[in-house]
């Protein structure tokens, strides 16, 4: 029982990170139609933004976090200008390969900047443990789950209760009409990229203390976020959350109850199964433009 509680907490914490990565991916997809294959590198950059401010520059925690997120916001803006704008009128296939290509560049740039040696990013609650029903749980895992829940709540408020969020959704639904209504579509699209980069940055900062910060961490995260998105339903925010938690739990529980070598096959197997049987995912989205 104690083991199970421990595994569930770790799985939910990892799942929260995947969920945030998937949300960033989905927000961009719904607003811009871009399937961002560099999404995993966004998370990696988030972790390394933390490495840059907290480890290399040695800033104190709150300042370091703020600095890292500011870097990520800047990165989102840059990505919008350098990658999204030139590609925005291209067919889906071109955009997919374009973001794959830029993901390679980002990973390599991180390698050149930080080297291949992994870093350790400390948590604000480093080393603290909680004891629940005989199970010892790292406080960081609990904090990650709580912080993710809070973030999702804030995101919901932003998208549903503020003029900015409603304008973003209007652009996502129909950019041309939104423009005719006088919305500043380009600024809103840029903000969408910034938001996605910030979410990925937070995911990266939370992941840092759970894994070692390694420049190659982007690809595995991207694959899990994709699997989460497909399982939950492409384009659906609740789907991204449910999918992320499922993939995280499947990874942690699968590693200890099924096989640690094949743990990742559970998530990918589920993803392929969903693609075959129910491509709209659990939270079925409109699917008329599946291509």
């Amino acid at each position: 029982m104690a083991d199970l509680i421990q595994l569930l907490t770790n799985g939910l914490a990892l799942g929260s990170v995947y969920a945030l990565a998937a949300i960033g991916f989905v927000i961009v997809y719904s607003a811009t139609g871009v399937v961002n294959f560099a999404a995993g590198q966004f998370v990696m950059l988030g972790t390394f933004a933390g490495v840059a401010t907290l480890v290399n520059a040695g800033w104190p925690l709150p300042v370091g976090y703020a600095g890292a997120l500011a870097l990520m916001a800047l990165f989102g803006l840059l990505f919008y200008a350098v990658v999204y704008l030139p590609l925005s009128k291209s067919p889906v296939v071109t955009i997919i390969i374009g973001t794959v290509a830029i993901g390679i560049t980002l990973q390599n740039a991180a390698l050149l900047t930080f080297g291949s040696w992994p870093f350790r990013l400390v948590s604000p609650v480093e080393g603290m443990m909680l004891e629940v029903a005989g199970a010892v749980i790292p406080l960081h895992a609990v904090a990650v789950v709580v912080a993710t829940a809070l973030l999702i709540g804030l995101l919901w408020l932003l998208l549903n209760r503020t003029a900015l969020g409603i304008a973003m959704r209007a652009v996502a639904q129909d950019a041309r009409t939104a423009r005719l209504m006088g919305l500043r579509v380009n600024a809103l699209l840029a903000f969408t990229w910034v938001l996605a980069a910030l979410l990925a940055g937070i995911a990266g900062l939370m992941l840092g203390p759970m894994w070692f910060a390694d420049v190659n961490m982007g690809d595995p995260i991207a694959l899990k976020a994709f699997a989460a998105t497909i399982i939950g339903g492409f384009g659906s925010l609740p789907g991204a959350i449910a999918g992320g938690l499922f993939v995280g739990l499947a990874e942690v529980l699968g590693a200890s109850y099924v096989s640690s070598a094949y743990k990742d096959l559970i998530a990918f197997g589920a993803m392929i199964l969903f693609l075959l049987v129910r491509p709209q995912g659990v939270f079925g989205e409109r699917i008329q433009d599946r291509g």
Partner: protein, 323 residues
């Protein structure tokens, strides 16, 4: 006819090079030829039928592992082992294709990506069969009429011959009813279905053809390097194959070969960049996608017929799904 001449010119250039270049360059040329076989195959799926596959190197891997296992564990001759290796890969592609190819665009990209990752996980962990991450070593080389196809130069001649046969076959398919059906499916699925084309059947045919070529490339790889491991067939390689096709110009056999050769040699030419090569590579791909969407072949075509928009040139249209 012109495509046949271009193909012949490319192959003859390879043959001429085989007499003048160093042993090291010969090895790179061999790598380029093997990649070219795989990319000419990918051209069926991506260039003609517009199916975006991020799982191509899994099929290369299936062919390579098939041959490696049959030669080292069962003691078959590589010639004999290549037949079930290639045929089995084709069957696997057909079995996967029927359910998967109902998907389009990024759904198909993600599904094939998942397949390639899954292939890597199985290859790395099914140790009894695949040797795990240590791979399979000591794969025997080929012998032809008592002569061993060994040494980089001899292998290059053999590789060019294989590429010639497969390239000609690809051109024949391009000009055939099946090839035109694939391109019709790529350009407009609904319209293609309206004219009586079996969209799923044609897509699966393109997918299977691409897998067969991939498996041949895998077999060539296995008998050339004499060693296979999961890392040789990971997603990065699948992305490289796709990049080769895009750089060269999709929808064109010559483009596939040019792209494969160029991206095999590019890291060597850009050695000055050292570890920064990949950063440059990604930016270069992005620039090609934005400024040169029809690749090198498209550029040559535009230069020859500047009046005609590149999009209406045969095979020049980017296989996009209409929004």
């Amino acid at each position: 006819m012109r495509s046949v001449l271009v193909l012949a010119a490319l192959l003859l250039a390879g043959l001429a090079l085989s007499f003048v270049v160093s042993e090291y360059t010969l090895r790179l040329l061999n790598m380029a030829v093997i990649a070219a076989v795989a990319v000419v195959g990918l051209n069926f799926a991506f260039g003609y039928a517009g199916l975006i596959s991020l799982g191509h190197s899994a099929f290369v891997g299936l062919g390579a592992y098939g041959l490696a296992i049959l030669t080292t564990k069962a003691g078959w001759s590589p010639w004999l082992a290549a037949i079930p290796a290639v045929a089995g890969t084709g069957l696997a592609a057909a079995a996967l294709g029927y359910p998967l190819l109902r998907l389009k665009g990024h759904y198909l990209a993600l599904a094939t990506l998942g397949l390639n990752v899954s292939f890597g996980i199985v290859a790395a962990n099914w140790i009894e069969l695949t040797g795990g991450t240590n791979g399979i070593a000591q794969i025997p080389g080929l012998t032809l009429a008592g002569h061993r196809i060994e040494g980089e130069r001899t292998f290059l001649w053999f590789g060019l011959a294989v590429l010639a046969v497969l390239g000609l076959a690809a051109l024949a398919i391009h000009a055939s009813r099946l090839g035109r059906a694939m391109m019709a499916v790529r350009d407009d699925e609904t319209a293609a279905a309206m004219t009586g084309i079996d969209v799923t059947g044609v897509s699966v045919a393109a997918f299977v053809l691409s897998a067969l070529y991939a498996a041949v490339a895998g077999c060539l790889f296995a008998v050339h390097v004499h060693f296979v491991s999961p890392d040789d067939f990971n997603v990065a390689h699948a992305i490289t194959f796709l990049s080769m096709l895009i750089v060269g110009g999709e929808g064109s056999v010559a483009g596939a070969i040019v792209g494969a050769a160029l991206l095999t040699f590019l890291p060597e030419w850009l050695r000055v960049l050292g570890e920064g090569y990949l950063a440059f590579f990604g930016l270069m791909m992005l620039a090609i996608l934005v400024f040169l969407p029809t690749g090198i072949v498209g550029l040559a075509r535009r230069w020859r017929r500047p009046v005609r928009p590149a999009a209406s040139a045969p095979g020049g249209a980017r296989p996009g799904v209409q929004p």
